[in-house]
């Protein structure tokens, strides 16, 4: 296996949890809800996903556990922000704290256990093709699912009526409400979807990436996913590009160090965040002109009049 091939495979693996969680959050934010609890939902997905896989011996069931855990936690968020109209930022932060604590409690009994990592695809001839074979046909299920997910989200948002309604709710909940669309119900579904994606992204870590569970193992990936949504300016295509870019920066800086290139590693570690800040600046300058910017109702609490 050549070095470049190995690097690309590592980049894809490093990007996948970010892509999964960020894709879910993109849909949530497109519906006008800002859920800052991604890190909490991811780590819950990691703990419950590992528990599921360890108990049943199946990566697939583990992944379902992870999705369910993310959904369950997002339901708490939905109850607070949609049901009780609580401030979304505060509720999201609280959700992360809750998720980190709860996952530690759930996962405590599983620390030190190990499982078989998710199997990788193997097609007799295709996987053997030099260079591209392993990259295209030798990944695990999470990787293929994450790519399909982004395509499906793009198709949903821009090619279906339901997607149009979701975007309308995110851009002007009052207008959507006046037209008779059930704003809160749509947002509830979006939040649940986002929770499931974050849970799956978290579950990827103990199920495929590093097959063991340790409290806090998401190590801030939820925050990077949130940054990624802003970086993408809420566009699915850019989200995928951004996820692979963030992953590439992480992996390439490690290789640059092993090569002894002498680039300061601290600077490289900060690059994804720096890129996000630059994009934020560009977005704020482009506001008003054409091009997608933040959903207009993002983060604003909606209370339907009776």
């Amino acid at each position: 296996m050549g070095l470049l091939e190995a690097i690309i495979i590592s980049v894809i693996a490093a990007s996948t949890p970010l892509l999964l969680a960020a894709a879910g959050e993109l849909v949530v934010e497109r519906s006008g809800v800002l859920n800052l609890g991604t890190e909490g939902m991811m780590i819950m997905g990691a703990a419950c996903g590992f528990a599921g896989a360890w108990l049943t011996g199946s990566t697939f069931i583990g992944a379902l556990f992870g999705i369910a855990a993310g959904c369950a936690l997002s339901l708490v968020f939905a109850a607070l922000t949609l049901g009780l109209a609580v401030n979304q930022v505060a509720a999201g932060l609280a959700l992360t704290i809750l998720g980190v604590g709860l996952s530690g409690l759930i996962g405590a009994g599983f620390v030190g256990e190990k499982i078989t990592p998710a199997p990788h695809l193997y097609l007799p001839v295709l996987t053997g093709i030099p260079f591209v074979g392993k990259i295209l046909f030798g990944q695990d299920g999470f990787v293929y699912f994450s790519v399909a997910l982004v395509v499906a989200i793009w198709w949903f948002l821009y090619r279906t009526r339901a997607g149009l309604i979701l975007r309308a709710v995110g851009d002007s909940h009052t207008s959507a409400h006046a037209l008779g669309y059930p704003v809160l119900k749509i947002r509830l579904l979006a939040v649940l979807f986002g929770g499931g994606c974050a849970g799956l992204g978290g579950a990827f870590l103990p199920l495929a990436y590093t097959p063991f569970f340790i409290p806090g193992m998401t190590a801030g990936r939820g925050w990077i996913a949130l940054a990624l949504v802003v970086f993408s300016s809420w566009l699915p295509g850019r989200l995928a590009a951004g996820a692979y870019l963030f992953g590439a920066v992480t992996i390439l800086q490690l290789h640059a160090q092993a090569f002894g290139l002498g680039i300061p590693s601290q600077l490289m570690t900060a690059l994804p965040y720096l890129a996000t800040v630059i994009v934020l600046v560009l977005i704020s300058r482009a506001r008003g002109s054409a091009g997608s910017v933040a959903p207009a109702s993002l983060g604003i609490v909606f209370v339907p009049d009776r």
Binding site: G216, T250, A258, F259, G260
Partner: protein, 359 residues
């Protein structure tokens, strides 16, 4: 995030403390500040094992409390002070980054005894303790030098502090005794704990030809990567053989229990003094996990090296120590580098293929 959790935890502890104070008036209250979760299987886990040993030994005379996930730096001051305010008479702060906050709180509470791990600042009521981990690293270097077929070792480093740098130096000095041309590739991940990133670093090192991986980060992720790649690795802080039954060569095991018991006994009988404890293989603060997955001659060499270090006939930093530029480093300790030079080490020795970040 962590701050809020800590405050909540500290508040809960305060309630527990007042609730039990009536029964436990006689007991000495001992507090611990942990960097990671107790289940990290690495650094914090081993301090927790030490605390449990302490409770087992002196459980009828003491009462212990710990706060986990306390981030380093100024934020930790609140947590340390919280323990001080809730009646803890002896407080162990178990990470390098708690140094200045511990000193600050120690000055504020002169009657409370503080023990800070791996630091170098002291006060009349603040002592320090650390392990000579470089002794274990040297043995690992000898083993790695023998076991590497390609002559390339991979090292996952956390932060450029003296303890990490002296570990890297001791490793290559050990490896050079069996293979003078050995290469050591270093990757700084700028974190103590991020399993995903540790795995990424291990993959990068393996992809670039390293066939023995070692780390100064806390999770068993690198061990698992090495197992998948069919190369060798060393555990870190605790025996990680479970994560690489065919991969782990040995592991440095941090054995804090005896020290915690000693310090608590001294606090109980009034003989406690702020000291500077720096123990190694000889005093059993640093232990080596069983030597596994290596031929008998390498195992014998490792055991011989360990015995020589314990006996004091071999010192990893025996002079002359050559710096990266090939010039001998000033030798302040006579035959070996002075402890201060090791505890404050900020230079690489000859043969390390890297530049210390920020230098």
């Amino acid at each position: 995030m962590k701050k809020l959790m800590m405050t909540a935890a500290a508040a809960a502890l305060a309630i527990v403390a007042t609730g039990f104070s009536a029964n436990a008036a006689e007991k000495l209250k001992i507090g611990f500040i942990y960097l990671g979760p107790v289940g990290d299987l690495g650094w914090t886990y081993m301090h927790e094992v030490g605390r449990q040993a302490l409770v087992k030994e002196l459980g009828d005379k003491i009462e212990t409390t710990y706060l986990e996930n306390v981030s380093e730096g100024p934020d930790s001051e609140r947590s340390i002070e919280q323990l001080a305010r809730t009646g803890h008479q002896l407080i162990f702060t178990t990470s390098f980054g708690y140094m200045d906050p511990t000193l600050k709180v120690a000055k504020k509470y002169p009657k409370i005894k503080f023990e800070h791990a791996t630091g170098f600042k002291r006060a009349p009521n603040m002592g320090t303790y650390s392990g000579k981990f470089y002794e274990g690293r040297y043995i690992q270097g000898v083993i790695a030098g023998k076991m590497s077929k390609k002559g390339v070792l991979g090292y996952i480093a956390s932060f450029p502090i003296p303890e990490v740098i002296s570990g890297i130096n001791a490793t290559i000095l050990g490896a050079q005794t069996v293979n003078p041309d050995i290469k050591l590739k270093v990757i700084w991940v700028n974190t103590w704990f991020d399993p995903g990133k540790e795995a990424d670093a291990a993959k990068a090192l393996a992809d670039q030809g390293a066939d023995v991986i070692m780390q100064h980060t806390d999770s068993p992720a690198a061990m698992q990567v090495a197992a998948q790649r069919g190369i060798f690795a060393f555990g870190q802080d605790s025996d990680m053989i479970k994560f690489g039954p065919k991969t782990q060569l040995t592991s440095i095991v941090n054995n804090w229990g005896p020290y915690y018991i000693r310090a608590a006994k001294a606090a109980l009988d009034g003989s406690w003094k702020a000291g500077d404890t720096w123990d190694g293989l000889k005093e059993k603060m640093v232990l080596m996990a069983p030597y596994t997955n290596m031929p008998d001659d390498v195992k014998a060499l490792a055991q011989k090296t360990e015995a020589a270090i314990v006996a004091g006939t071999l010192h990893p930093f025996k002079c002359p120590v050559l710096g990266q530029d090939g010039k001998a480093v000033e030798c302040k300790g006579g035959a070996n580098l002075d402890p201060g030079q090791i505890l404050g080490m900020n230079f690489y020795v000859k043969g390390v293929d890297d530049k210390i970040p920020g230098k």
